[in-house]
Symmetry: D2
Subunit: 214 residues, 4 copies
């Protein structure tokens, strides 16, 4: 497919281009802040840029009337409302985390929650590289909200660890441990690829990445 990236020079933009090109797709539209480089009309648009550039993304999609896959973080309530409005016209797939593994982990946590009661102990640990600013990670906070009870989040900062999240549930008899580790940004670009390939078949509407996975 012919695709476009808003935020093409960012780390996610570069990784997405790498994976998509490897899978035979063609990057025909690139946008970084005000600079646009277009060689043809894209069939879908991917946005991994900054929340500040969001209004421009809205205009572009309204004009091109193509599916949008957006992973830009920092979108606020109003932005999400605007995305829902846009979704009346085109398929919009929005997520703050396009990793297949983290999304599966979220489902597993909800499952485990149903079986266990308050008598089970709960611990969460997240490990990231030494330069990560958020502590604890946004993903850890998101996973913590899925649990029925408050949980302490142990945050470790070690070397070049790309990102690991672990949740442990324990009774006096046994322990269940669910863990996810992302090796690289490919954990996310693969989810974007899955979404892009699905988008071409979707009716207009607002979809989360979880919806695409199901």
């Amino acid at each position: 497919m012919k695709y476009g990236i808003i935020g093409a020079s960012g780390r996610m933009g570069q990784e997405i281009a790498r994976l998509f090109n490897k899978n035979g797709h063609q990057l025909v539209y690139r946008k970084d802040e005000k600079e646009v480089d277009a060689s043809a009309e894209p069939e879908i648009m991917i946005d991994f840029s900054l929340a500040s550039a969001f209004p421009e993304t809205l205009s572009i999609i309204k004009e091109k009337s193509i599916p949008l896959i957006i992973g830009t973080t920092g979108l606020n309530k109003d932005n999400l409302t605007e995305l829902h409005n846009l979704a009346a016209e085109v398929p919009v797939i929005q997520s703050f985390n396009f990793s297949i593994g983290i999304n599966i982990l979220s489902k597993l946590i909800s499952q485990v929650n149903n079986y266990l009661d308050k008598s089970w102990d709960l611990e969460m640990t997240e490990t990231h590289h030494r330069f990560k600013k958020d502590k604890p990670s946004g993903t850890a906070l998101m996973l913590a909200e899925l649990l029925k009870q408050p949980v302490e989040i142990h945050a470790k900062r070690l070397g070049s660890e790309f990102g690991e999240h672990k949740i442990e549930f324990a009774s006096t008899g046994e322990l269940i441990s669910l863990k996810h580790r992302a090796y690289s940004r490919e954990a996310f670009s693969r989810g974007v690829l899955l979404s892009a390939e699905a988008a071409l078949e979707l009716e207009p509407g607002f979809y989360s990445f979880q919806d695409i996975l199901n």
Copy 2:
């Protein structure tokens, strides 16, 4: 409740008595091979004995007409058929593994299976104490059957490890790891307790421990 144990002197029998008594229940019937010690009529019967004693268990249950929770391993196809016949008269709860955690793990594996395709790598590791005869463990073989693809089972024998099973799924972008560790036989006796407490409310029928958990 008043309960009875067939195989009362075995390790599981003793652990079940410990946990049940701690929870306020009374052991009124004990059987070990030919020796019976009964002080009152039990409301339910628990069997963690040997497959060779199975015919006697059938007679006892038919006579007493009470629910049966049976965890005896080594039952063959005919035994299971006889249990199904018995289940026409009383509730029968049968499992080869009464650990809540292992049963949850089984459900999670089936879930993960649905989301992932053959491109994901699969590894399973089981760790047990140095005296464990089965290699790999029966539980590992049971979990392996739940996976859509053949998997290599790495079996480690270390010290006094009671029992740990881990399944890892990996793509080029990320890794998902599901692990269960039993601290002691309490991992199983808690599942038996759950089943016994449920059994008093059940209609005659054959139930697996998975059914009780749901």
Copy 3:
């Protein structure tokens, strides 16, 4: 050998008796608070009681003039001085942690310290059962002191975990992880056995468990 235990009814006392008897030694002297039960003269004395009973231990050893292996926690500076004085007369082996594994781990940490500089990240995690009062554990604090730099100690309380300590060192290129897990009090009783068997051959003097291991 014929041996005696001060604190014989405590959990460590019972575990020590179990392991020593399994190894062919005879328990000929038992003391719990004021109650003494002696059937013969012990060749060595083991003390795993309370710091409040320490003065009585001193008297008993002075009177019997036999080696003392003491693991009683909570001894203060004065108590240790008194032990050093006692050591002029008999061999005294004193430690707050008789686990062979933790003592080896301590040596390994010191080794790793020599090779790595301040540019390496450091994280420590300790996991114990839900009833453990100290947080973080005394052992974690002791291990932390061996490191050249301050380290954050992540303390997890999960089910029936007997005791696990993990130290991770990471540079931007790699990670080294050292971990110890005690399955049960046998981790400590084995170190006491090693010390007791060594004590019979020692000259009067004050020995740490580390000295015995070397």
Copy 4:
């Protein structure tokens, strides 16, 4: 310093150039098979090429009379003898594994060996990415040789795992686990950097990377 790389276009060659340049050193000599690109005389030479190119490396070093750091794998007994001969003239640092972590792990394993006897169980696990051909890894085989007893090596192939090695020692009371994970080739280039910086101060002689670490 001004440095040269034989095998400059290989993955290790590129990583070494990246790290060395980041640390202010200048790449003045590049060789790939028959192609040489030299802008100045190097002060030291690094070789991460193929065993088949080894004779040319020998000639180059003899001619330039500069220190050699060589990590080329697949060198045979004769090659190593020739290196020892060369070491009469210049400092030669040779290793099959320039990771600081793996070398420390080797020392730790030897340490643990001294304290433990044959009653301890031993297990080794190595995990690498799905494309790794050697099974088990060369590093695992090297670490296995350091242990006093034969050990089973469990080899896992998962996704994009760069390289992890774990050794577990267990008695009936406790478990000790030593683990190393390389995040990337930087685990090795850092060891090469350490060696190169040391080489400028060394007398002619044959040095292993372990010697440099001490």
